[in-house]
Structure formats: structure tokens, C-alpha cells
Symmetry: C2
Subunit: 142 residues, 2 copies
């Protein structure tokens, strides 16, 4: 197992990057890649976080989502304290390989630290010159 | 209409930020906020990009997704050249208001510049110590 987080360097050839079969994730200057987590069953977005190379490797190898916590500056296996683990059903990347999409099954009831299934529990609604948030009530959320 | 992109400053009170109705998006140091775009009908993730305050304002006010292109360093209305516009059905933010989720209807056939409906057309599959990409064939994608 590679745990040091080494991946092949991204190709500078756009066609290889976009059409190829080599997985060469493009981490940002801080060594992170954004990761979208959606519910493999319901389809809705559960949460959004960042992975460093090690978190991405561990996610691929273990089948459980790992992230890099920017606030704690530490590798973080989702659910290691809450118990709400994310069991990976499918992992995808985008055309230029700088985003990860994790389709997962939630082992517990809450992906969000607030105790809600999803972190996205508020709708943005334009109002006059600004915008307000509306809390989405149970059952209304996809 | 506010087009200069001013939003209220985020509260330093965690409870207000997480439970409140004030929309106070948290842009990063570059003035950007990540935006996940999913298909309002099918549920799958179509693309991922960034918005600056002006792009977010225009998205809220016009009902069409706008982004900030980091490569071109310019405001970008999705579809302005391709014709593949993203008509916003619902806009959400996450618990700490530093991500936007756009549920949209695609006016054309391709959200991806490669001509595919979604930018996420490749699955990551662990293989030995590394990982490879598999192109998802038509119809197999959710």
C-alpha cells in the first residue's frame, strides 16, 4: 500500500488529461483537491471537503472516505469520532482531474456535524437586493 | 441590482452562521467560493467551478449560473459561448456557508466542454498500488 500519497504527475497534454486512463489528480498549491460527496442512493449532495494525496489514497484503498481537515491540519477519516462513516460506492474525477466526486453510503444518519443528513440544509433565496436563507424542512430535501 | 458583489460579512458566531437565515457567504482568500452544479432532474453532478461575489449575485438575480474563470480571470456566464446554459432550479449553501450547491436544468446537452453531459465521465478504480480511470459509457451514468 502506498500511504505516502504519491500519484503520477499530471500530463501537460490536454487530451491525455481529459481522455486518458491514467489517474493523475491535480492537487492545488496547498496539495489539496476538492471532494464532493453525494448520497449514492438518494443522489443529493451530503458534504464537501478536501483531500490531500494521502487522504485520496486511503479513500481508494480502504473504501471509506478520508479527508484533510484544513482547520485541524490533520488527516481525517470521516466518522472516526462521530461514527458516521462514508462507505464509497463509486469514485469519479472530472475532465481536468482537479475534483473528486465520491458517491457514498452513509453508515449513520448524519453527514453534517450539526446532526443533519446533509450539510446543505438551507436554500438561498433572493430578496430585494440581497438574499436570505430558508431552512429546508424534513422530507422536503431530495 | 447589486452588481458589485457586496455581501454581508460572515458572522463570527458559529450558531448564527450555521442556523441563521442571514446569507453571508464565506469567500476564500482569492475571493472565491466553490460551486457544485447538479442536474435538478437526474441528480448527478454536472460540473464544479468557482464563483466570486459578482458571479454569485448574478446567479441569484438572473437565475442562470455564473462563475469566475480562474484560467481566463474573467466573469463567465455558463453557456455564453457554447449555448449550454444552466438554469437554476434551487440554490443551497452548506453549514458554514463556504460552498454553493446549484441544482440546475441544462438548456443544452453538454455541461462539459468535452461535449459530454457531465464533466464526471470517468470512474477511479484502484489497481495494485495505484489507480486507473474507466470511461463511463452512455447510459451507465446516473
Amino acid at each position: 500500500m502506498i500511504m505516502d500519497g504519491s500519484f503520477q504527475s499530471p500530463s501537460s497534454n490536454k487530451s491525455e488529461l481529459e481522455e486518458g486512463r491514467a489517474f493523475t489528480p491535480r492537487f492545488d498549491q496547498a496539495g489539496l483537491i476538492p471532494a464532493i460527496v453525494s448520497d449514492a442512493a438518494g443522489g443529493g449532495v451530503l458534504m464537501f471537503a478536501y483531500m490531500n494525496a494521502e487522504a485520496l489514497h486511503r479513500t481508494i484503498e480502504s473504501g471509506e472516505a478520508h479527508f484533510w481537515s484544513r482547520s485541524r491540519n490533520a488527516l481525517w477519516r470521516k466518522g472516526e469520532t462521530s461514527g458516521n462513516r462514508l462507505l464509497v460506492q463509486e469514485l469519479l474525477t472530472d475532465c481536468d482531474q482537479d475534483v473528486i466526486w465520491v458517491k457514498a453510503r452513509l453508515s449513520g444518519e448524519a453527514a453534517c456535524h450539526t446532526g443533519r443528513p446533509s450539510c446543505f440544509y438551507r436554500r438561498i433565496r433572493g430578496e430585494g437586493e440581497g438574499a436570505i436563507l430558508e431552512i429546508i424542512v424534513n422530507g422536503e430535501h431530495p
